[in-house]
Amino acid sequence: MDSFAASRSRVVDMRDAPGITLDRIHLNYADQPLFADFSLHIPGGQTTCILGPSGCGKSTLLRLLAGSPHLACAGEVRFASRPDACGQVSWMSQNDLLLPWLNLLDNVLLGARLRGELRERDRDKALSLVREAGLSGCEGKLPAALSGGMRQRVALLRTLMEERPVILMDEPFSALDALTRLRLQNLAARLTQGATVVLVTHDPLEALRLGHRVVVLGGTPARVFETIDPSGPPPRDPGDPGVTAHYAGLLARLMSREGE
């Protein structure tokens, strides 16, 4: 058990997790202004959930944070520790992006392999993460032999293996069934503790369960409609007052805006 605890605390060192500031961002997508003079601060070492209807630019926002070279934008993205995203972020998307020709363990180790610095230490760490995620015995299985929930767990482990202080998640659990989703949310909340997590979702329950802060985004160009800091530490139970106090209201406001 000691090695589990050690590995977990090593995933991210809380002191390293920087806050991120988006400063007066202008960005067009297909000739439509997606962001115009958009500013937002994302606190370090916490989970910020960005909630909004599809097409409101929340995925683009995440790509912006990841430093995607394909986005032409004006304005500034500042990481508190270093000037840019380089080497600080890891990425998890809705699509698990597992390589079908690599087995589970090799998929978890993808980052180290791509950097050409795969060490025995990485293998040990990956194995203990695999154990912690309840995937022991499946290390040699190919992605095709795994269920959707297992695949997404592997994607989560691959993200954690990077040991980056900032973790960007783009609707990571939206393709899963309700129960699997709840389990994975708990696992993710536990394993990403201390990192600066930006999680994009269109599910208010997910946002309220996982976010230290929930930022509701909408409109074109996008703006922040409201910011909620639910009480209590995540992951919150679906029946937790921190969730129930906001859920119905949040859902109602999202629905009324979709109708606008």
């Binding site: 430093g67 380089c86 998307s93 390589l99 020709w101 791509l114």
Partner: protein, 249 residues
């Protein structure tokens, strides 16, 4: 069932062949029946085997060389935008030239021996391999490339770990096409000028009105080509196990 179906198909084909011969009454010097052709295969087996050896060597050499060259060309184009800009139009335009029309020139340049036939096979194998592999690599999931970028991946590692394996299913279909057309290249080369090989043997028999031998050579060629194709197909399905299978039935 999987073994039975081809056997039934083959049997049906033989019956149809025999029926055409019996019902139409075509003379055997136009179309001999399956039985005389079968007899010819047995009687002339030593000669057929010798010529088959030559043709197979040409096919396999052409397939190997053509695949290597096609793969290299695709890799060079994907790695270097400079080469891509110059090589891609050349490749596309080269396909407008009827390759078979080059056969006499190849024989002129490379001689009557095996080299001109291998050259012919290489020419027609190169393009399907190069173009399928290249477009397969180009179609690599952009999200995977973005993931690799965020991970701080090295360029060559992205190529070997992500891009090339992503393209292998496309490469495999190119190689299947190449395997199917390789015998055509070899035989056409032999027709234009040679002293050995099944294509040569066919022409030789044709000139002597030994139509049964001609058909025997054709039968052997078809059987061996089919065998080679299925061998390559099975092998690729095993090696490139992540290619989509049987999407539309």
């Amino acid at each position: 069932m999987n073994v039975l179906r081809p056997m039934i198909l083959a049997l049906g084909f033989l019956l149809l062949w025999q029926a055409v011969v019996s019902l139409s009454g075509v003379p055997p010097y136009i179309l001999p029946g399956p039985l005389p052709v079968g007899q010819a295969v047995v009687t002339h087996f030593p000669a057929l085997a010798r010529h088959l050896g030559t043709t197979m060597a040409e096919i396999l050499l052409g397939l190997t060389l053509g695949t290597i060259l096609g793969t290299l060309a695709a890799l060079v184009m994907i790695m270097s935008p400079f080469f891509k800009r110059w090589l891609l139009p050349v490749l596309v335009v080269s396909q407008a030239i009827p390759v078979f029309a080059l056969a006499p020139i190849l024989v002129l340049w490379l001689g009557y021996g095996m080299a001109s036939k291998v050259g012919m096979a290489v020419l027609i194998i190169f393009f399907p391999v190069a173009s399928s592999f290249y477009s397969g690599m180009q179609r690599t999931d952009p999200d995977l490339l973005e993931l690799a970028r965020i991970m701080g991946a090295r360029r060559l590692k992205v190529l070997s770990v992500i891009i090339v394996p992503s393209a292998l299913p496309a490469f495999a279909s190119g190689l299947r096409v190449a395997t199917a057309v390789a015998p055509i290249g070899a035989v056409v080369g032999e027709w234009v000028g040679s002293s050995a090989g099944l294509g040569f043997y066919m022409l030789h028999a044709n000139a002597r009105m030994q139509i049964d031998i001609m058909f025997a050579a054709l039968t052997v060629l078809a059987a061996v080509s089919l065998g080679l194709y299925f061998l390559v197909d099975r092998l690729l399905a095993k090696l490139v196990f992540w290619q989509p299978q049987g999407g539309i039935s």
